[in-house]
């Protein structure tokens, strides 16, 4: 904002001080994320800039930590990198396996959260919805309840998921949900649902219900109305909700710690190990990759937001 022409000298000084303060806070926000990027190319196993790096000497930089991601835990590093070697990396590398797990779990959790969340948001945004406030509060609560409490509860629940319906005699057909993909997917879907609800209901606030009525009066059955009229308009909100749900799953570690086994290790779980045991710059190379992914997500979201505004005729003021 511009300084008014009637500002006193003191106000001028304050105005510029304020800008400096804001710049410092922005630095505080962004510097920690940017600084790990160059550090991940460090040729030495240090977490600080070496003299060579500061002098921009190419020998101070290397890709060794990225290479380590492929070869951990025990893939030979000094053999020719042919198809067989890459196949071995794909099968055995701990980080590649973690990435596969993260993507699989994130994908299914996102599907469950987005489908159930979108349908529920459609109901919640109808004015005639009964007990709206209470139900909304229940559906948002997985975001508010501390993750350690959720994880502890899930640990008990997953140990004997059918304990409550034991009287039906069905519990003999129930296994445990601990150490299973299903268990992690269900938990991550639960954690992602509040984000889908929030983004989709926010999109539906600006949605003109008379469009639905117009479609119905022209003879469209409800499903046609939904897929031809409602869905295209709320799609940006649904996609950003899905992105939120995916990121929530992709970033989640506590539930995985509590209910998953070695087979379901995800990237954050693997990072957790790396940080707690012996922290090596390999962690920074994973972190850099994750930052690049989140920049991509952010860009997607921004494009969606603009598209949504254009579709709904809201121009930025």
């Amino acid at each position: 904002m511009a300084l008014p022409i009637y500002a006193s000298p003191l106000e001028r000084v304050w105005h510029y001080t304020r800008l400096v303060i804001c710049a410092l806070i922005f630095l505080f926000l962004i510097a920690p994320i940017l600084i790990i990027m160059p550090l991940s190319f460090n040729a030495e196993p240090y977490f600080t800039f070496t003299e060579k790096m500061l002098a921009f000497d190419p020998s101070g930089y290397s890709l060794r930590w990225y290479d380590l991601l492929l070869t951990q835990p025990s893939i030979p590093n000094d053999v020719p990198r042919d198809g067989a070697w890459w196949a071995q990396v794909w099968r055995e590398s701990a980080w590649v396996r973690a990435a596969k797990n993260s993507v699989i779990i994130g994908f299914f959790a996102t599907i469950v959260a987005t489908v159930l969340g979108t349908i529920a948001a459609l109901g919640l945004s109808r004015p005639e919805m009964p007990y709206r406030r209470l139900i909304m509060a229940i559906l948002i609560s997985p975001m508010i309840v501390p993750i350690i409490i959720t994880a502890t509860g899930l640990f008990f629940f997953y140990s004997s998921p059918c304990a409550l319906i034991g009287w039906t005699g069905l519990s003999q057909y129930c296994g445990r949900l601990t150490s299973s993909y299903t268990g992690v997917v269900l938990a991550h879907a639960t954690l992602g649902i509040p984000f889908v609800i929030i983004t989709v209901t926010a999109t539906l606030i600006g949605f003109d219900q008379s469009l639905n009525r117009a479609a119905a009066s022209l003879g469209a059955p409800p499903t046609t109305t939904f897929f031809k009229v409602t869905m295209p308009l709320i799609l940006p909100g649904v996609i950003s909700g899905a992105l939120f749900a995916f990121v929530t799953s992709f970033d989640e570690v506590v539930v995985v710690l509590f209910v998953a086994a070695h087979d379901q290790q995800t990237i954050p779980r693997q990072m957790w190990n790396g940080i707690r045991e012996q922290i090596s710059p390999a962690i920074l190379s994973v972190a850099t990759i994750l930052v690049v992914i989140s920049i991509g997500m952010l860009a997607t979201l921004e494009i969606l937001r603009r598209r949504s505004e254009r579709l709904r005729g809201v121009t930025p003021h």
Partner: protein, 420 residues
Amino acid sequence: MADISASDVGLLKTSDGRPLKSALATAQQRSKRRAFLLVLPLLAFIIITFIIPIGQLLHQAVYNDGFSANMPRTTAWFVENPPGTVPDDIAFEALALDLKDAAAARTVGVVGTRVNYEMSGTRSLFTSTARGAARLEPPYREALLEADAKWADPNLWGTMRQVSDAYSANFFLAALDMTRDVNGKIVPMPEERQIYVSLFVKTFLLAGLITFTCFLLGFPIAHLLATLPMKWSNLLMILVLLPFWTSLLVRTTSWMVLLQQQGVVNNTMVALGIISDDGRIQMIYNQMGTIIAMTHILLPFMILPLYSVMRPIPPTYVRAARSLGATSWTAFRRVYLPQTLPGVGAGSLLVFILAVGYYITPALVGGASGQLISNLIAFHMQSSLNWSLASALAALLLGAVLVLYWIYDRLVGIDNLKLG
């Protein structure tokens, strides 16, 4: 809407002859039911995957059958005989036979652990007696007392009576630094074992401090973003949203890298001559590390609600105040600030709620002094394996968070929660 009574215009009817009023009511009922049916699948899902697990956690906090399930005869003796009965030969026989079974089933450790929660130092009594349990012969009283004279201790029998009931509020008492004496009266824990209440207090103080630093750093940023032209504020908003979208572990790792003794911040300060090489500051693995990293992680949750309240405030109000003679400080304090209060409340409550239950960051950068209540819950779940105590602590934390959530819903409304 005016009520149209039948006497005025005759009974209004729909084309199929039903009274309009009841037809309308039916239609409204139907649309209500339809809206509810849309929400139902998700509600059922959340109840199964979230509400029931939380319920099981609450149950675990008051239920522990470690003793009663593995010592059935002794438990039955406690039920048959009123409190204060001196253990007779039948009691000792029950105890000895139960110990034999428990030793054979390898569950005596569970039993000893359960008793040990209430009376420390008793676990080894159970395990050592059980090791020789196979050789116990009648008369059992003499045999047990020969194995260990502590079996005659009336306090031990009092404690065993307490834990023979699987339902017990003792874990909540323990979570509040209280215990029962031999007569079952509630008394405070010995001074040196009181840790939980002070940890709760510390958690709330730290969360308050983090909320305050988030406010201090978030307010100027939100104000700047709200007063800049849209083109610029959208650009700068990316700097707020990028940390928001970046993995929590990545951000925590960055702070470990930046703040450690041989890290970037210390190195820069040494290079600039602010501190000497041997005067490097310990900024991580302590409370300071927790505060810095959590402020960074929670700051976007303060900025976003503040921004959404500040953006629609018309700049003309402050200008009007200035034109009426207010200094810029007075105009800010008396005109601008009061209008931002809803945002301040929303942001602060959200940050506080999230900070109170934080686990990952304190666990990684908190060291010994920066641990919060969540970390202790995790400790009891994973290391000490006292699940009931962990559940009781979790239940207390959950209660606190739900109260805050309720206040948030009253003041701000959950519908107004905004993300980016």
